[in-house]
C-alpha cells in the first residue's frame, strides 16, 4: 500500500527551562548530603514549573517582578528593589533600556539593560540566580559557612563564596565571568575552574566582530589558565557580507517606538533564518505585537517561536506570555 502524503512526525519532546535544570541539580545534590530519610525531601512542586513563567496568572508567591520598560532618554538606573530574605517564591527581574539594581538578601545585584535574571531561595538556605539573557553584576557578602550563592548562565555554573563579579550569558550555553573581588568556582561541562579577583573566565574566546574574511585575525589572545572551550569548539567562521544578524536585530529594535510596523517587518525578515538572532527576532515580533494589543499576531509569533526554537533563550517568557494571552481571551 503506498501513501504519497507526508507522514506526521512523532511528538516533539518539550524541553525544560534552564531554571528547572538548575533547580533540579541544586535539590538533588542537597538531598544527597542529607541522610536518606524521605521525610525531609523538599518537594519541587513547592516551586511549580510555571510559577516563574506565569506568575501573575498562577497566583504564586512571586515577589517584585521588576520590568524597566523602554524609557528612552532615561540613563539612570531604576531605583533598587529590596526583596528581603525569606523569599516565598522565585523573583524575576527583566530590564529594558535601563539597568536595574536589586537587593536579594545580602547580595546586591545590578542587572544590565536588555537582561533577565531569576532569583530563588534565601541567604540562609542557598540562593540560585539564573541569568536568562544579558549580564548582571553581583556583590555577595561572604557566606561564612552559609549555603553558597549560585549563579547559572547557560551551561556555566558559578559558585560564589563572597565576592564581586560580573556574569554575562553569551549564547544558549556559553557565558563569561569577570571577578573583581574574592574567588568563585565556575563549573562548565564538568570542568571546574577557580577564578580569582582580577581574572576573567569565558567558555568561548572573545571575538571582535569585523568584516574581514576570517575571524582568526581578530581573536584576542586566549585568557591564560581560564580559557575553557567546549571540546568541539571551532574558532574560524566566515563573517557574513553586509550587516550581521545582530546588527539587523538592533536596527529593528531601534524602530519599535517610532515605526512599529517597520520594526515588525524587519523582525519577520530576520526570523526567517535559523540563527539565535532569528529566534530573538521571532520572539520580539510576538512581544511587540502583544505590547501593541495585537493578540492574534502575538499568539501566532510566540507559538511559532516555541515550535521552531524550543531551546531558545526566551522560551520561558514566550510560554508565560502565551498563558497570559490565552487567559485573557477566555
Amino acid at each position: 500500500m503506498s501513501d504519497t502524503r507526508d507522514k506526521l512526525p512523532p511528538p516533539p519532546i518539550e524541553p525544560l527551562p534552564d531554571l528547572a535544570w538548575a533547580r533540579l541539580e541544586r535539590v538533588v545534590l542537597a538531598e544527597l548530603d542529607v541522610p536518606e530519610t524521605r521525610s525531609v525531601r523538599m518537594p519541587l512542586t513547592r516551586w511549580p514549573l510555571f510559577a516563574l513563567a506565569g506568575a501573575a496568572l498562577a497566583g504564586a508567591a512571586v515577589l517584585a517582578i521588576v520590568v524597566a520598560t523602554r524609557d528612552h532618554g532615561t540613563a539612570a538606573p531604576a531605583p533598587a528593589v529590596a526583596t528581603g530574605d525569606g523569599i516565598a517564591g522565585p523573583s524575576r527581574v527583566a530590564t529594558g533600556d535601563a539597568p536595574t539594581e536589586v537587593t536579594f538578601g545580602d547580595a546586591h545585584i545590578t542587572v544590565a539593560p536588555a537582561s533577565a535574571l531569576v532569583l530563588d531561595g534565601a541567604a540562609d538556605h542557598g540562593v540560585l540566580a539564573v541569568l536568562e539573557r544579558g549580564s548582571a553584576s553581583f556583590a555577595v557578602a561572604p557566606r561564612r559557612g552559609r549555603p553558597p550563592f549560585m549563579i547559572q548562565a547557560g551551561a556555566a555554573q558559578v559558585r560564589v563564596v563572597g565576592t564581586e563579579l560580573e556574569v554575562t550569558r553569551i549564547a544558549p550555553d556559553d557565558a563569561a565571568v569577570a571577578v573583581t573581588e574574592g574567588t568563585v568556582e565556575v563549573t562548565f561541562h564538568g570542568r571546574v575552574t577557580r577564578v580569582t579577583a582580577g581574572e576573567k573566565w569565558t567558555s568561548v574566546p572573545p571575538v571582535t566582530t569585523t568584516t574581514a574574511t576570517t575571524a582568526t585575525a581578530s581573536v584576542e589572545p586566549p585568557q591564560p589558565a581560564h580559557h575553557d572551550k567546549k571540546p568541539d569548539a571551532t574558532h574560524t567562521h566566515a563573517a557574513p557580507a553586509g550587516p550581521t544578524d545582530q546588527q539587523r536585530y538592533d536596527a529593528a529594535a531601534a524602530l519599535e517606538l517610532t515605526d512599529p510596523e517597520a520594526a515588525t517587518a524587519a523582525y519577520r525578515d530576520l526570523a526567517r533564518g535559523k540563527s539565535a538572532w532569528a529566534a530573538n527576532a521571532l520572539y520580539a515580533m510576538g512581544r511587540l505585537a502583544h505590547e501593541r494589543g495585537d493578540t492574534g499576531r502575538a499568539k501566532l509569533a510566540l507559538t511559532s517561536y516555541i515550535h521552531r526554537f524550543p531551546r531558545g533563550a526566551n522560551v520561558a517568557d514566550a510560554r508565560a506570555l502565551l498563558l497570559k494571552l490565552e487567559g485573557a481571551s477566555r
Binding site: 501513501d3 507526508d6 507522514k7 506526521l8 512526525p9 512523532p10 511528538p11 516533539p12 519532546i13 518539550e14 525544560l16 528547572a20 535544570w21 533547580r23 533540579l24 541539580e25 535539590v27 538533588v28 545534590l29 538531598e31 544527597l32 536518606e36 525531601r41 518537594p43 519541587l44 512542586t45 514549573l49 551551561a155 555554573q157 563549573t187 561541562h189 564538568g190 571546574v192 492574534g296 499568539k299 501566532l300 509569533a301 507559538t303 511559532s304 516555541i306 515550535h307 510560554r319 502565551l322 490565552e326
Partner: protein, 184 residues
C-alpha cells in the same frame, strides 16, 4: 565510581550527561512535563543512591533509563488520568504547509496521549517506548524488566486498544499508522 563515593563534581557530571536522555524517557511515557521536575528528582536520587550497585555491565544511560521507567510506572499507578493539556495553536503564523503540518501533528499527539491515558501502565510504557520512541523490543524489555515476548504482547495489546479508540477518530488513526510505518 567517584559519583557513588560522593564526589560532587562527578555527581554533577552524571546529572549533566544523563539528564536529557532521562527526560526523554519520562516525556515519551507521560507525554508532557507536568510533574516532570518531581519525577526527575525521584529518578536521579534513586540513580545516585543505587550507583554502588551499578556494575558497568550495561551503560550508565541504560541504568538511568531503567530507573526512570520505574519512576514513571509508579507515578502512573498512583495518579488519576488527567486531560492532556498541550498548548494548542489557533493558527499558524503563516499559511505554509510546514506550519499547518506542525499544528496537525501537535493535535494528533494530544489525542494519542489522551488515549494512552486509558491504558494500564504496562501497555502504555511498552507502546510509548517501542512505537513512539522507536526503541527495540529488546531494549524496552530490559527497561521494564519483562521478557521480550511479554513486551511484544503489551505493545500488540496497546496497539489494538488504541486502534479501537481510533475507529471514530481519523486523525488518531492516521497518526498511529504513521508512527508504525515511519521508516517506510
Amino acid at each position: 565510581m567517584r559519583a557513588a563515593a560522593g564526589d560532587r563534581a562527578a555527581q554533577r557530571e552524571v546529572l549533566t550527561s544523563q539528564r536529557v536522555w532521562v527526560h526523554r524517557t519520562l516525556f515519551r511515557i507521560l507525554g508532557n512535563n507536568r510533574d516532570m521536575e518531581d519525577l526527575l528528582q525521584d529518578t536521579f536520587l534513586e540513580v545516585f543512591r543505587s550507583l554502588h550497585r551499578f556494575r558497568g555491565d550495561s551503560s550508565l544511560g541504560r541504568w538511568c533509563s531503567i530507573i526512570a521507567t520505574r519512576v514513571a510506572w509508579a507515578y502512573l499507578d498512583r495518579r488519576r488520568a488527567v486531560t492532556q493539556s498541550l498548548d494548542l495553536v489557533d493558527e499558524p503564523i503563516d499559511d505554509g504547509p510546514d506550519a499547518r503540518r506542525a499544528l496537525v501533528a501537535r493535535e494528533a499527539a494530544r489525542r494519542l496521549y489522551a488515549a494512552l491515558d486509558k491504558l494500564d501502565p504496562a501497555m502504555r510504557i511498552a507502546f510509548a517506548l517501542a512505537v513512539i520512541d522507536d526503541r527495540s523490543i529488546a531494549e524496552v524489555a530490559s527497561l521494564t524488566g519483562a521478557t521480550k515476548f511479554a513486551t511484544k504482547t503489551r505493545v500488540w495489546r496497546a496497539r489494538r486498544e488504541l486502534f479501537k479508540r481510533a475507529q471514530h477518530d481519523e486523525l488518531l488513526a492516521q497518526y498511529l499508522t504513521d508512527l508504525e510505518h515511519r521508516d517506510e
